[in-house]
Amino acid sequence: MADITNSKPATGGMNFNLGKILLEGRAFFALVVIIVAFSFLSPVYFSANNFLIMSSHVAIFGLLAIGMLLVILNGGIDLSVGSTLGLSGVVAGFLMQGVELPSAGVILYPPVWAVVVLTVLLGAFVGAINGVLIAFFRVPAFVATLGMLYVARGVALLMTNGLTYNNLGGAEALGNTGFDWLGFNRIAGIPIGVIVLALVALAVGLVLIRTAFGRWLYASGGNERAAELSGVPTRGVKISVYVLSGVCAAIAGLVLSSQLTSAGPTAGTTYELTAIAAVVIGGAALTGGRGNVRGTMLGAFVIGFLSDGLVIIGVSAYWQTVFTGAVIVLAVLLNSLQYGRAGR
């Protein structure tokens, strides 16, 4: 009667085998394979400088993906992060140009720190709208954030009339210089954007593993009804993850517009899909309750290093799209292998 088809993978057992290790560490091995392969194909790929440049590209997706991870752990989805990123950049650009107060007849130039704070608050506000729609009005997350995708993008286009803010440098006389610091400066040779990503990843990782909120999030993503009956404030958790996702998108928007020293209303289009892909490649389950920051970071680096590598060896952009898509599907395929068939 030995029947093992229904048994779950043994936990804490010593029966390690190569297949299992490859399956569980797949994002890591994929990254190694990508780095090794492109190092052979191109002489310029394997260098500290190139890794740092690629990492500052990854920073944008990585920040979005961390916010997305929180939402996906809760069993939801946030399609609005790309648009929120674009809107945040535009609002930051708008604030940098000075805010004219017609009644007082003056133009206010907020300092850069105030621009950053206001932009992050904007991201939180956008996320809060998503969260309230989903938690209190029971709008499906897919629909609520799809609507927000359009609304935020539309607002960004309206604010700029479709144009781009190019002058984000500020002026010494106005006391608002330094916006490019985020995108261009380095500390100990590491781009600020990458450092921001690392800090956000560490903070969120700590929250997930070591705080009550993290436990609530995993529980309500795994079984919301059980979590609720155990006293978990499931609605509060739900709203919080969308707010945090909006904040992450706003930070990514600031980093991107600083890197480009310009803020266009179409920045970040389809980035939400890249972020979802990073989370999924990192082993998170779209049904909620499973996933972690480490995996998501690996997922973001896999996508970033793959697409930059393809650019470096001169593969056409169309092929890049095909490769990225294939990697995503492969990742989900492996996820369903790891978590087994659902139910009995």
Partner: protein, 515 residues
């Protein structure tokens, strides 16, 4: 009479055997739902399966109808071994099943549900006119005045059950399995169903019947088979059995579920006054001006059938449902405005009926499930303390005696009984004053059941915990409870002390009234 695991004797039965199970076993990981069952179905006769929740009745029916494949053992059809590849294959062999949980598509109408998956094809697509004609004829046979074009979601539960029955009848099967077909039917609908069953058996159709209403089942059956804990414990033709025989074989003669503990009864712990909870439609009341008083250290059992309002009463007390009117007091303090979390803090916890749906987080470990309701107890400032959490988890595992590799094991690796102990342990870890348990014995084997009751009795005695549990098994009323309350249609029908008899309880519940 009790023949452990014997193969039914062909000569004694008279009628020809059309289908039989031989040494059928079904394991789900570590859980053994069936441990080698032998079972015969006779042509044109009704065979009833008796057994408590979790005895394996539904699993056996799913094996017979091809929905799940047995882990080992054989199904014989007309004496020849068969392997069904899914329910449709079994249907092709003339076997259909009416599920306990209704398997209808609520958005489709009655006609489309009856023909779902076996539509009558015509050159131009589906022959809806013919389907509608047959549906009308079926409804006439079942004496139910239903328009074939009514969406199923607009029907009462009982009418939905009629549709499910019609669906099985339409398939013109020679073996029809009915898993609790009457649970949502009114008395007159049950009469009609029995008439239909008699017509079918007269035509040579064999019926396998499962019901919790023992007396009702005795009315219709030709053979009785009793399952307990995944094994067939007894088997006999109708002429040789009575209610007492069934209950004895279902429950086991000597299994001790405990006795009321000698706890020191304190002040009123939970006081419910005039509680009214509206039903799903919003027109009637599922809980109707209910009063309940439980003292600390006291164990109260609430007995009632499905739909008696037990679950709603408990969910309302725990804060998941809101009441229409009435007061709920915990140690004299009104708790109606509090949230679920605040009620847990105040000392009132609920162990829900459906542990898979409402009790466990399947993606988390045993330890994380156990500590879920008491995270605050091991949070120091901003962060949780791993050391303190491990202590909470290890204490819980010891207290409720969970058999596990440790707190790090996945919750899915545990058996049903141990999973239930985790849900109970999770709530006990919050150090409650009152614990409400909705069907705590559902789907767990008799040994685990006894352990759960022992645990509750001990906690009531040592901690002065007030315990309220519901059950639909009479044998579980007469165990650890100091008081037994019988609920019927949202009201308290009777109240007994622990010296009451099974017959008195069943009479009070309205179970025996239907004839």
């Amino acid at each position: 009479m009790t023949v452990q695991q014997s193969i039914p004797d062909e000569k004694k039965t008279g009628e020809e055997v059309v289908m039989s199970a031989r040494h059928v076993a079904k394991h789900y990981g570590p859980i053994k739902a069936l441990k080698g069952v032998n079972f015969d179905i006779h042509r044109g006769q009704v065979t009833t399966l008796f057994g408590e929740n979790g005895a394996g009745k539904s699993t056996l029916m799913k094996v017979l109808s091809g929905i799940i494949a047995p882990t080992s053992g054989q199904i014989l059809l007309d004496g020849k071994p068969v392997n069904f590849h899914g329910a449709n294959d079994a249907l092709a062999h003339g076997i259909s099943i009416i599920h306990q949980e209704l398997a209808l598509a609520p958005n489709l109408n009655v006609r489309d549900n009856i023909f779902m998956g076996r539509e009558i094809r015509a050159a131009s697509g589906v022959n809806f006119a013919e389907e509608e004609r047959i549906t009308r004829a079926l409804m006439k046979e079942l004496e139910e005045d239903l328009d074939p074009l009514t969406p199923v979601e607009e029907l009462r539960l009982g009418q939905q059950q009629i549709v499910e029955i019609a669906r099985a009848l339409q398939a013109k099967s020679r073996i029809l399995i009915m898993d609790e077909p009457t649970s949502a039917l009114s008395a007159s609908e049950v009469d009609v169903l029995f008439k239909v069953i008699n017509d079918l058996t007269a035509k040579g159709v064999s019926i396998v019947y499962i019901s919790h209403h023992l007396e009702e089942a005795l009315e219709i059956t030709d053979h009785a088979v009793v399952l307990r804990d995944g094994t067939m414990t007894a088997w006999a033709p109708r002429a040789e059995i009575d209610l007492e025989w069934i209950v004895r074989n279902m429950v086991g003669e000597n299994f001790d579920l405990g006795s009321p503990p000698n706890s020191k009864m304190g002040d009123a712990a939970l006081t419910i006054e005039n509680l009214c909870v509206p039903d799903a439609s919003g027109h009637g009341l599922v809980v109707d001006h209910l009063n309940l008083n439980v003292r600390s250290g006291e164990i109260v059992c609430i007995y009632g059938l499905m739909g008696a309002g037990r679950t709603e009463m408990m969910e309302c007390a725990a804060g998941r449902l809101s009441a229409q009117s009435g007061t709920i007091k915990l140690q004299g303090r009104e708790i109606s405005p509090l949230s679920i979390a605040q009620r847990i803090d105040a000392g009132l916890v609920l162990v829900p009926e459906d542990r898979q749906r409402d009790g466990l987080v399947p993606t988390m470990t045993v330890g994380q499930n156990l500590s879920l309701a008491s995270i605050a107890a091991f949070t120091r400032g901003l962060f949780t303390s791993r050391k303190d959490e491990r202590e909470v988890i290890e204490n819980s595992i010891r207290e409720v005696t969970v058999k596990t590799d440790g707190g790090g094991a996945m919750i899915g690796s545990l058996s049903g009984g141990n999973q239930q102990k985790v849900v109970i342990g999770k709530m006990l870890a919050t150090r409650p004053e009152v614990i409400l348990l909705d069907e705590p014995s559902r789907g767990i084997d008799i040994g685990a059941k006894a352990e759960v009751f022992k645990l509750l009795a001990k906690t009531a005695e040592t901690r002065g915990l007030a315990v309220v549990y519901t059950t639909s098994e009479v044998s579980e009323c007469l165990s650890i409870a100091h008081r037994i309350i019988v609920m019927n249609k949202g009201r308290i029908a009777a109240e007994f002390d622990h010296t009451v008899t099974k017959e008195q309880i069943m009479a009070a519940s309205g179970e025996a009234v239907h004839h």
